[in-house]
Subunit: 143 residues, 2 copies
């Protein structure tokens, strides 16, 4: 059975269910930062997923990254699985800007998260989900 | 035409040609750190690749990550495309250990690279390529 790690649950907000993954917004308004958590019991590494699961994760990542780039107009999208702190497989999709806090360095482990202001968050999530849904490549169930 | 970015060429060593990507070893013996560079003109983002190219990159990443985990016995594999400094699409596959320099933080932008000692490098590359070739899922042409 898939059980979400309590640290992922604490640090991010479920915004939609995708066929393979939970789509979550990291609760840190310093970056437009999404996390895909494949609903696969015990998954830790992308290369340990079944072939069809890995391909679906890639597909979901690409749809989300594309929507994120369009909605934010970012300079670069960073995608990654690190998992050094929280082992449960989670896939980062982050919009980066030349004037963001840690550009051009990575975002992980820097300073303290700033929780999203609610109105700002709802507006961002609405735009993002609309863009993802317009793609029609994957089924999206808003949370 | 695919042209390798001069910074990637300077900082890493070609160890094999895969169907889509150059497989390169980052010239930094602080980490077992591989870089896949898809031979696709102008590629910057995974989500901008054609579907078959993205799936092939995933396949090559998974084969390389699996071999790297077996050869090194690492705690975790980190996979990522950042590209904030060098825009050309390059995909990191890095073996991480609980006693490595920056665990559990990310590896990028920390300190100075330590060039591989040649004998150590050749031994590592030989083991890695043997493991990748044993997989038989992708064609490998050692450099």
């Amino acid at each position: 059975m898939f059980i979400l790690d309590h640290r992922i649950e604490r640090d991010s907000i479920l915004i939609a269910e995708l066929p393979l993954s939970q789509l979550r917004l990291q609760n840190d308004q310093r970056y437009p930062w999404l996390v895909l958590v494949p609903k696969v019991e015990g998954a830790k590494e992308v290369h340990e997923l079944k072939v069809d699961e890995a391909q679906q994760l890639l597909k979901e990542s690409n749809v989300v990254a594309n929507a994120l780039a369009i909605v934010t107009g970012c300079k670069k999208v960073n995608v990654a699985n690190l998992g050094n702190v929280v082992e449960q497989l989670h896939w980062h999709v982050v919009a980066r800007f030349e004037n963001d806090l840690t550009w051009p360095g990575p975002i992980w482990g820097i300073g303290e998260a700033e929780c999203w202001e609610q109105k700002k968050r709802l507006t961002f999530v609405e735009s993002l989900l609309k863009e993802i849904q317009s793609n029609q490549e994957i089924k999206v169930f808003p949370a």
